[in-house]
């Protein structure tokens, strides 16, 4: 979707503000927000692409007004409400009012280490050869799906070069909607700065995105 999360090249922000000796979390509630978000994916059964869409699919003014972990919490609440794991009246009351919905699994302390170490690899066995090869010129499609996508707006319609063939990976556009993994070939596609930003671009700048085959067309 074309939302406020898609920030590449947008001109409305000020300087980057590094924070010396920054703590991992800036408030106790951020710790808990982080942990419940990670832990709830197991009983919730949603995937990372669904989580990303639940965070980004909100009005720009809301996305920009919320801090990072406030967005995480808003996304988590949405997934839990949609799946019926909790009710909005329970959030308002601050306590459980109904019996729990049966869930397949929950995260035990004993399983934390293995869960983190395993992660969620996205590479899958290809079912056909790669249609593109390194060095080939491709154009990022000028598409604007209202659903989840990982093709940033600043490269759409622009011509780049396939730099690396990264294998076949879970396709977020399908996975986010519950339509399955639908693995697709993934490429690092590199764009010249002038192709993205015009003649005033920094000399020598090159920018890449990782783009799945359905985002690309032969140039």
């Amino acid at each position: 979707m074309d939302g406020a999360h898609d920030m590449g090249g947008v001109a409305w922000s000020g300087p980057v503000q590094p924070e010396p000796n920054e703590p991992v979390f800036h408030a106790p509630w951020e710790r808990r927000a982080f942990a419940i978000t990670l832990a709830m994916a197991m009983p919730g059964g949603w995937n990372i692409d669904m989580s990303r869409f639940a965070r980004e699919d909100r009005p720009p003014e809301d996305y920009l007004a919320k801090s990072y972990y406030q967005i995480w919490i808003a996304g988590l609440e949405r997934l839990m409400l949609e799946s019926g794991l909790i009710g909005s009246e329970e959030i308002a009351a601050g306590k459980s009012l109904h019996p729990a919905k049966p869930v397949a699994r929950t995260l035990t302390p004993e399983a934390v280490g293995a869960m983190l170490h395993r992660g969620g690899p996205t590479e899958r066995e290809p079912t056909r050869p790669s249609p593109f090869a390194a060095g080939q010129r491709v154009r990022a499609k000028n598409i604007h799906p209202p659903t989840h996508t990982r093709l940033p707006q600043y490269v759409r319609g622009r011509v780049g070069v396939i730099e690396r063939v990264l294998g076949c990976h879970v396709f977020p556009d399908s996975n986010a909607s519950g339509a399955g993994e639908n693995p697709q070939w993934l490429y690092t596609v590199t764009f010249d700065g002038r192709e993205l930003w015009g003649e005033a671009s920094e000399p020598g700048l090159r920018v890449s995105v990782d783009a799945w085959e359905p985002y690309l067309e032969r140039e």
Binding site: M7, P18, G113, R118
Partner: protein, 212 residues
């Protein structure tokens, strides 16, 4: 230990007046999820402890120092970073597919996630606030030299910048250049020069006189 233990016991009015709406909301959620048996507070504590004390940029610094000290490891890292990094015991969530990017006198690499906050957790830990912020996510792909000025340094004119936008599940780790004058340094000592920002591409390794 942890706040979840207090959640159920500190509902005094003065607490509420000091708590933000967000704090109350997160406490309410944790209470509900714990009461329903969806989350185990001990598992939450362990997740937090892991990323506050175990997984962080010290891991990445060990990878970089090994690459500086051991040419065979460096070659493995640049050829296929995920198994090379796993040799040091770092793997898993948000680092399932890692690519290492070599800085040279002619080429400086910088990593961003314009769409959210993708970051190589097993080697760098959780991302800093500025990495997730609108200024960095918007500016890095268009004005990376301006970003570097925000961080207080300039690259030489002859150095090209290559920006990697982490739009898929590939995670990028910059291999900065080994500082001159460290030829006789041990791998252990080299780790002291490796900063987090030098592994994102928004900084350089420490100067020799800055190392402890």
């Amino acid at each position: 230990m942890t706040e979840h233990a207090d959640h159920h016991h500190h509902h005094h009015h003065e607490d509420h007046s000091e708590l933000s709406e967000t704090e109350l909301r997160v406490r309410a959620l944790e209470t509900i999820l714990t009461e329903k048996g969806y989350v185990d507070p001990a598992a939450l504590d362990l997740l937090i402890e892991t990323y506050e004390t175990k997984v962080g940029p010290r891991n990445g610094a060990r990878v970089v120092a090994r690459a500086w000290a051991d040419p065979a490891f460096r070659a493995r890292l640049l050829a296929d970073a995920t198994p090379a990094i796993a040799e040091l015991g770092y793997a898993g969530r948000q680092g399932e597919h890692i690519v290492a990017l070599e800085n040279t006198p002619r080429l400086h690499n910088m990593v961003v996630c314009t769409l959210c906050s993708c970051y190589p957790w097993p080697v760098l830990g959780l991302p800093p606030v500025w990495y997730k912020s609108a200024p960095y996510r918007s500016k890095a792909v268009k004005d990376p030299r301006g970003v570097l000025r925000d961080f207080g340094f300039e690259l030489p004119d002859g150095t090209d910048i290559r920006v990697w936008d982490s739009t898929a599940e590939i995670r990028y780790l910059v291999l900065p250049m080994r500082p001159a004058g460290t030829e006789d340094w041990s791998e252990q000592r080299l780790t002291e020069l490796v900063t987090r920002d030098s592994m994102i591409g928004t900084g350089l390794p420490k100067r020799l006189d800055e190392a402890s």
